[in-house]
Symmetry: C2
Subunit: 630 residues, 2 copies
Amino acid sequence: MPKSLLILQPEGKRLKVGVGKTILDIAQEAGVDIQSVCAGKGICGKCRVVVRAGSEYLSQASRVERVVFSDDELEKGYRLACRAIIGKSGTITVEVPPESRAGLQRLLVSGVETRVEFEPAVRKYMVEVRRPTLEEPRSDMDRLLDALSRRREIRIERICLGALRRAPHAVRSAEPNVTITVWNNKEVISVEAGNKQTKLYGFAVDVGTTKLAGYLVDLDLGTIVAAVSSTNPQIPYGEDVISRMSFIMKDLKGLSQLQTLIIKEVDKLILEACKHAHVTPDQVHEVTVVGNSAMHHIFFGIYPGYVALAPYPTVLRDPIDVKASELGVDINPCGNIHGLPLIAGFVGADAVADILATQMYALDDIAMMIDIGTNTEIVIGDKNKLTACSCASGPAFEGAHIKNGMRAATGAIERVYIDPDTFQVGYETVDNAKPSGVCGSGVVDAVAEMLMRRIIDSSGRIKTELGLPNIRVKDRIPELVLAGASETGSGNEIVITQEDIRQIQLAKAAIYSGISILMRRLGISAGDISKIFLAGAFGTYVDPQSARVIGMYPDIPLSRVQFVGNAAGSGARMALMSIEMRRKADEISKKVDYIELGADPNFQNDFLNATYLPHKNIDLFPSVRRLLQN
Amino acid sequence: MPKSLLILQPEGKRLKVGVGKTILDIAQEAGVDIQSVCAGKGICGKCRVVVRAGSEYLSQASRVERVVFSDDELEKGYRLACRAIIGKSGTITVEVPPESRAGLQRLLVSGVETRVEFEPAVRKYMVEVRRPTLEEPRSDMDRLLDALSRRREIRIERICLGALRRAPHAVRSAEPNVTITVWNNKEVISVEAGNKQTKLYGFAVDVGTTKLAGYLVDLDLGTIVAAVSSTNPQIPYGEDVISRMSFIMKDLKGLSQLQTLIIKEVDKLILEACKHAHVTPDQVHEVTVVGNSAMHHIFFGIYPGYVALAPYPTVLRDPIDVKASELGVDINPCGNIHGLPLIAGFVGADAVADILATQMYALDDIAMMIDIGTNTEIVIGDKNKLTACSCASGPAFEGAHIKNGMRAATGAIERVYIDPDTFQVGYETVDNAKPSGVCGSGVVDAVAEMLMRRIIDSSGRIKTELGLPNIRVKDRIPELVLAGASETGSGNEIVITQEDIRQIQLAKAAIYSGISILMRRLGISAGDISKIFLAGAFGTYVDPQSARVIGMYPDIPLSRVQFVGNAAGSGARMALMSIEMRRKADEISKKVDYIELGADPNFQNDFLNATYLPHKNIDLFPSVRRLLQN
């Protein structure tokens, strides 16, 4: 029987396959990860692949594919893996894009990897130090710096007291070898006996309102040696930044209380990462920190109260460098804590880091970055101009204020589809555990599916009059049952209520109206956007098609949507590894135009129009209109 | 009866006086302070004055004056006030030089006042800060620094975290006025509401092994507003630097123990000075610190152990700037603690400050600076070259290791003379209290007087065989009784023993041999020295004639000897008031040649020769030879 050769990229897996099988079948047999929520029924549209070569050996695009994909995408070779059948013998090359990966998406939380020139702010130099003599009884530091100046063009302006205090012992313990650590080519921050050049580490941390993510980086080699994360311990003082700021505004000691909590948590993360990599925290010489403006201010002990009040000014926009000992961060006491710069009260260092990580500041074409969280930052622009705004999208996408909402933890329903014929609900859960709730991406899927199946109308109203099997009214509120009591871990049903749908509508309207205002100010339309970067944990898990169906972002081909995961963390790492990136961050923070949405006269109108699914003006979403028409 | 007009300078007192009275009588009647230990008997030679005009209206120089003064001095108008009698009517102008003042000398402890261009490192600027708007919601610091940049050519590189933390409140409390304190034109160290320009203070402190002296300076006006002093609380851990260093070398916690003691003491001094001047310590924005290398290192918490070991290298020679909060000094937490630079292990920041204060770095002619203490620093040179050494002169000049020795406190015999005819001993005490001991200047006076009266020979031996009334042998040791039991406060006699004389011989020999070696290296002799600056408390109280008689320093006219008091403290103040002086100090610390006496082949020989009174080679001391011949 004649065989075809199927090459799956980017893995480069080469498979000899018979005619008649679908790409999805073959990939799954070979252990290549492709999402498929509907189990190959051609319904969920999630098993998107791109045929790079040999499309003539595959079956023609099916009707469902012609609906799911735009002409542009079809032309580029987009197929649903469950509908593309090997038709003839030949060599076929297929790429599985990141958005079609189930597992990979989770990995992406560690953020996009952008190559930067490796040029950390801290460097170690091994020098040989001459002994003092009676004729020339020079000071320890004079002899050290002399040795250093012979080796490099370094201009020392300061010596950290902690390093100075170690110097007399260091110069005498392993004569004549001494290792000097220099920060920013101008400050001595450590003096050690012997050759310690390879013991140089840094830590990059993204302090999110909800979650902290940290990366221990070997600053000698430029490699990540450990990644750690934890929950923000400030959560008991308020789930969102506004409530934490209120707490601080009400209580004189609130600021130092919340600061202490977060510093201790970062210390824990550093210790955990160090243990993992068999490194002592004393070998960590720098920490880069990103976070929204409130988290940033609290971390550095700066009063964030005025950030919460119009016109929402930050105390500081510039990057900030503080000695570890001054902040009480448990690394080398002379180590530096570098806070990346901010843009505005609600577009913080995390957004700067997002921009760094996506490198949209260098793109020729217009790109859009959406970092979805309780507060969603949006940046649009190219190498010439970047404009940002912030939307109060609320915590619905993180599962809060959703009846059975939860974070994307084990047991959370993260994928939902509804059979167009039977209206039966199918779902996937995190870690394939028994469902215990529904996370943001699950709710978005559910709303999108309900819209596609015409269970809800464009106003979001559940059509109870249809009498569908999973739709009911409980306590006067219509709802869709996702999982019955028998299926769940707790024995309680998991539902999506009319109110949940409203929450999602408000949240996505907040984002889309922000995008609308930015685009109008810039005079651009969806067609001008060459790329959308989706950042943040939710932005990583959400199905881009579902997000587009509900109208969260402009209707552009999904191939232009790129998941960048925890881009803020990536940006923090880039700043840790490259002083050029810090200069770039500073430039970005000064250059980005900030637009205060509340001050825009169209804001209310834009917001109201955007509460419709996908939008009051369906013409803005041609691909959704096409889907709804089919 | 015809009257003369006597003008006493520098007071400018104009006195109508009759013929026949001595200048001393007239001055004492008029309350002008002139020393006179022998009460006008023409013996002690301490009432030296300089006749500036009208010498023709005075009696001719007496025989005793022709002995006391060199030809050079006589030509310049030097007289003993007790021997200069108004002979005719006329206008006579007489200057009372500092060394003839009893009271003034004590005042001189505050140090020489050298005018410096007032240019402190900390400056305050009052700016008007614009409110943020929705259209331009700029950060507090952006608005502050903008306002600052409009006013001056300041380039801010850093913002102290403490200042940053105060900023949000400061910009909103007294809108639009904010006062920004800038350090070194590059760091914001304070942000205050309203106009606080006049609230700017600094503190200069000389950390001596025995004594601390501090000066609170108004850095807005450039005036000293309080002077304070106290005893070094480290004394229980060793009277001299060597024993304190030994303590630290033996005990791991010794360094931090001694550091804490000294920092707390400085805090106390600052608080005391602030209370006196009605200033809060928070308004103190900078502290300059001088001290010998050991005191300097301990103050900054730097291990001084190796300073005690050959070749005696310091850890640091450069000036050092540390945040007050980092050292725990209780001033404004963002305030700077500036340690002046050092020269060598035993020529510290105090010597640099001495050089600054005397301005010998700028002199055309060769000058010598002697800062007498347990350790005596000697610097010789001019604007082209400065050379320094350090002598272990020991604590004898401070009254230690002297049988009835004490510090120059109330009741200390500080002036001694011996009647050449009766050999009766006369003395003066500090505060004219009943004598309770003898301080360094008293012992030096006693030894000089004994030499002049030929009670001791040039080897220092007391000639008991003369059978003089106040000379006796007790417990086999010859001694001179200064004060009988009936005269003293305690009822105990006060004596100068043979051993005391030996101590003084060793101490002065240490100094003179150091001077000899420096002069030989530089190829100069006594005649080349245009000026000797005597610094330090002892250097202020000692009678320059007595010091010259015993051979402590080269035989040059006393008119060339200048008391500069606590010059180290003066230098610290100058560095506080002028960044130009800091640059100069840095230059000095790099430029001064340090000579290690122990490495000089002539050291032992020079030392032995110098133990003689005034010297084994009497030709080196022509003025003393002349006195002895008379």
